[in-house]
């Protein structure tokens, strides 16, 4: 019979809609501001006792706690308001001490039975929730240069060992040139180095009476070093972000040499930037003896600004990379200190060197890789030129009393903040190559809340306006279209939650825009039906061909819009991507609701009945 769906089709539609409702439902529960407790240390666990400690500190500070619970990832303290949450953070952090990380978070309040089905609210983008977005560029040329410098001293050692005489070694534009006076030296150097350093490309040239061996990276080696530097930096940044205590951070590679870091809910952006961008590392050197050769000695100033200097051997004992754990505390005189534990290899090296140097001084050197940006006019355009340099200064110079082993402490730091940051950096590891901030966006929490309100308000009003218009223009069929439209929004939210897509302000705008466009399919169908009726076709036939003939049009029109939305997703970043997501999901769900769900309603009401007047 015309315009009748079989029962199973109705049931299927009901099932889809029920699932949609179920998965969209968690979005109605507002998130709780919360503190997330976790620990990076093997020695500390988040347990009842820790929670109890936090609870009593909070009640002492007169801060209302909504709920405290233990989760698989640690503990969660929920609060009634954002102000309580902010006030509670320092209180809890002080109560639990250094071993725990306290992070601000928004925790869903999805009921148990819903979350056990995998349902949860859609994620909110930074523009709705507040937080920081960084785009960092890894200075891969610097990584290559560092590697070349390391190799250059190794190469010199090899040449010296085999008594190949070279005049000088220079590094320029990524090429290491070794100068020889005689051709045989050049030839034997080439064979020697080729054997030991296979990751390089070798070329020889003659300039006047001098012979040169030019050493440069092969393309493969270059790629490998670059990708290693990026990977290493990603790992280090992840560690640092975890140490910072941010809930649900994002650290992700973007393109060949960029890293995106997103820290939702972070308030103190200055501290976040200092820690993320820090390139500080430590080096341990022995103080040079009076008789040591000038070229093996480096004179460095002290960090305390006293202008004192000391002569240290260039050869280093170990670097901060050998540190396995570090924590900050205070010494007997109340000055900040950092307690350091070394890994097995570092510890062995340390004891080997210090055993024969008891009574001598050891200097702890603080290195920071920095860069200066200058703008240079080139071809009529301003171009940014970065020059990187490193700053070295001595933190402490102390006499080695006994052989040093795996753990020791260093003093001579300016402030407790500096000691705790240094400890953090040593724990998280150093960056393999310097990084630069090329983009940064900070959204305050109040702006985020305001954006949500604006978005939700305009969505509601928009929906109302469209619904009233449809009702007035298409009467009963308008009502069908409105029901479909409402279900479309439910389905869209369900899809967002299921895909755990991120909702942004332009994303909400996309939903609002979809509302205007979602009724389009119904408008197409209805105006077809009207046309058929006008040309004298019986009611049932008009409905039938109205739906059928509008289908190809709807399909073609929506597919092209979908294509454009996909491109938008590909080229867009952040909020714009959010717009592309809601737009494309909205197109898909609206095709389902506008065609299938509307049809089902029409069939239910009008299907199979003769000569019933159509209110359209």
């Amino acid at each position: 019979m015309l315009n009748k769906y079989p029962l199973w089709k109705y049931l299927l539609i009901l099932l889809v809609l029920a699932l949609g409702l179920l998965y969209a439902f968690p979005n109605l529960y507002p998130d709780d501001p919360a503190l997330q407790l976790s620990t990076q240390k093997a020695t500390a666990v988040v347990d009842e006792q820790a929670l109890q400690k936090a609870k009593s500190a909070l009640s002492k500070a007169n801060i209302d706690l909504k709920e405290a619970e233990l989760t698989s990832a640690g503990g969660t303290l929920r609060f009634n308001s954002g102000e309580d949450q902010l006030a509670a953070k320092p209180v809890v952090a002080a109560a639990l001490g250094d071993d725990y990380v306290t992070a601000l978070n928004l925790v869903p309040t999805t009921p148990e039975w819903l979350s056990s089905l995998g349902a949860g609210p859609a994620k909110l983008g930074l523009d709705l929730r507040g937080g920081v977005h960084f785009l960092l560029e890894v200075d891969t040329p610097a990584a290559l240069k560092q590697k070349l410098e390391v190799s250059s001293s190794e190469m010199k050692a090899v040449l010296r060992k085999d008594r190949v005489r070279y005049r000088s070694v220079d590094i320029e534009d990524g090429v290491l040139s070794i100068r020889f006076l005689q051709q045989p030296d050049l030839a034997s150097a080439e064979t020697l180095l080729k054997k030991d350093f296979s990751e390089y490309r070798y070329a020889t040239r003659q300039d006047g009476s001098d012979f040169y061996l030019d050493v440069s990276f092969t393309e493969a080696a270059k790629k490998e070093i670059e990708s290693y530097a990026l990977k290493q930096n990603l790992t280090t940044l992840r560690n640092r972000v975890n140490e910072l205590g941010v809930a649900e951070p994002l650290v992700q590679r973007q393109g060949s040499n960029r890293i995106v870091v997103e820290l939702p809910g972070v308030q103190d952006t200055a501290a976040a930037k200092r820690i993320i961008g820090a390139t500080a590392n430590l080096e341990f050197h022995l103080e040079a003896g009076l008789d040591s050769n000038g070229s093996d000695v480096e004179t460095l100033t002290f960090r305390d600004g006293s202008g004192r200097t000391a002569r240290l051997e260039r050869d280093l004992i170990i670097t901060g990379d050998s540190v396995s754990d570090a924590s900050s505390s205070f010494d007997e005189n109340g000055r900040p200190q950092v307690n350091i534990s070394l890994d097995a290899k570092g510890g062995k090296q340390m004891s080997k060197v210090t055993r024969s140097a008891v009574g001598r001084n050891m200097g702890v050197v603080f290195i920071e890789h920095k860069s200066r940006s200058r703008f240079v006019e080139k071809d009529g355009k301003m171009e940014e030129v970065r020059r990187s340099y490193s700053e070295k200064s001595i933190i402490s110079l102390a006499t080695i009393q006994t052989t040093l082993g795996n753990s020791f402490r260093i003093t001579g730091l300016d402030s407790p903040r500096e000691s705790s940051e240094l400890a953090l950096l040593l724990r998280a590891g150093a960056l393999a190559a310097p990084i630069y901030f090329v983009e940064e966006r900070t959204i305050g929490p109040s702006l985020g809340a305001e954006n949500i309100k604006l978005g939700v308000d305009s969505a509601q009003i928009g929906l109302l306006v469209v619904m009233v218009f449809m009702l007035l223009y298409y009467k009963v069929f308008g009502l069908f279209a409105n029901i479909s439209l409402a279900l479309n929004i439910v389905l869209l939210m369900a899809c967002m939650s299921l895909l755990s897509a991120t909702l942004t302000l332009p994303g909400i705008a996309g939903i609002v825009l979809t509302m205007g466009m979602a009724v389009d399919a119904n408008v197409l169908i209805f105006s077809r039906i009207k046309e058929e009726l006008a040309s004298g076709v019986p009611n049932q036939q008009a409905i039938h061909s109205g739906f059928n003939r509008a289908f190809t049009t709807i399909f073609d029109a929506n597919i092209t819009t979908l294509l454009v939305a996909v491109i938008l997703f590909a080229v867009g970043t952040g909020p714009v991507k959010g717009f592309a997501v809601t737009l494309s999901l909205g197109i898909l769900t609206s095709m389902f609701t506008a065609i299938v769900v509307t049809r089902a309603q029409v069939n239910l009401v009008y299907g199979g009945r003769k000569n019933k007047k159509l209110y359209i």
């Binding site: 785009l135 560029e137 952006t269 200055a270 930037k273 301003m382 940014e384 901030f437 090329v438 983009e439 940064e440 966006r441 959204i443 305050g444 109040s446 702006l447 305001e450 954006n451 604006l454 978005g455 308000d457 305009s458 009003i461 928009g462 306006v465 469209v466 218009f469 449809m470 223009y473 302000l505 332009p506 705008a509 609002v512 205007g516 466009m517 009724v519 389009d520 408008v523 197409l524 105006s527 046309e531 009726l533 006008a534 190809t552 049009t553 029109a557 929506n558 597919i559 092209t560 819009t561 294509l563 454009v564 939305a565 491109i567 938008l568 080229v571 970043t573 909020p575 714009v576 717009f579």
Partner: protein
């Protein structure tokens, strides 16, 4: 219901002159004034702060000037208490915080940070390139899709209509010096999608009518097709415009320009799908044979 019978195609010449004039004005303005690119594309630093009480912008400027921040733009953003400070590229990692503390330092001023953004010059340039590429890619893909689903002439006509819409919307942003940022670019791409949607509905009807109205001349056929779809075109545009006006008025500063681009684009897009695409189809001499291949009679002639 009565189908309208407006002689759209009789207005071809006037419409063509109107469209060409708009395009020329837009191109002229784009060539001379260019676009007011936002921070996303130029690079630079922007700080948005919220005051408890509305400040005098001149005081804010003077305060920043005293502290060595010359060459800054200070504007209200949405409300008198919200102030945006823009700076050219002179980035240090702590600039945002420094400016904030400068603003707060002035005695008892209650200022809070709403957002701060920094975009490196190179990133801005890349975003600009990427955006342009995305736009071209979108047009190319649309052209291919329409050529496959319809026919080459339809694809040229609809892409030309899209370019028409994009140029005029860009022209609007150039003439009225509205800031052009990433969200506006997104809106522009959405306009491409939307306007295409409209154009395709009209083209679809033209294709269908070529099949059923065998004895009608293309000129009348195109005119009838537009009239038949007019009801739908106007109603859909109307519902979309409703929600866009709501977004424009209530959506807040952050998506103000975004909804403006969509508003302008959709008005132009509706106009172009009624007039421009169909006009071009006739100009390219669209025929029944373009859509329905002539029966292959020749093959049988070879048979004995």
């Amino acid at each position: 219901m009565k189908v309208t019978n407006i002689p759209f195609m009789a207005m071809r010449k006037i419409v063509a002159v109107f469209s060409l004039t708009l395009i020329l004005i837009s191109l002229g303005s784009l060539a001379t004034k260019g676009l007011q690119f936002g921070l996303d594309f130029t690079g630079g630093t922007l700080i948005e702060v919220s005051y408890k009480e509305a400040p005098q912008l001149d005081d804010v400027r003077a305060l920043l000037g005293e502290n060595g921040y010359s060459d800054v733009v200070v504007q209200n953003f949405g409300s008198p208490t919200d102030v945006v400070v823009r700076m050219a590229n002179s980035y240090t990692a702590t600039l945002g915080d420094e400016v904030l503390s400068t603003l707060q330092n002035n005695g008892t001023t209650d200022v809070s940070l709403q957002r701060s953004e920094f975009v490196g010059a190179q990133v801005g340039e890349e975003l600009r390139e990427q955006g342009g590429l995305g736009m071209l890619l979108a047009l190319a893909i649309v052209m291919i899709y329409v050529a496959v689903r319809f026919q080459f002439k339809f694809s040229v006509a609809s892409v030309a209509a899209l370019i028409h819409d994009v140029i005029i919307t860009l022209g609007f942003f150039s003439i009225f010096e509205v800031e052009f940022d990433l969200t506006v670019l997104a809106a522009l791409l959405a306009v491409v999608g939307y306007s295409l949607n409209d154009t395709i509905v009209v083209c679809d009807r033209i294709r269908e009518n070529f099949r059923i109205m065998r004895d009608t001349k293309p000129y009348d056929l195109v005119n009838d097709s537009i009239n038949q779809t007019l009801d739908r075109t106007l109603i859909t545009s109307l519902t979309t415009l409703f929600v866009l006006v709501v977004l424009f008025v209530m959506g807040g500063e952050a998506i103000h320009n975004f909804s403006m681009a969509l508003l302008v684009g959709i008005v132009i897009g509706t106009y172009s799908s009624i007039f421009v695409a169909a006009n071009l189809l006739l100009a390219m001499d669209v025929k029944r044979e373009d859509l329905i291949p002539a029966p292959k009679a020749e093959l049988e002639d070879d048979l004995p």
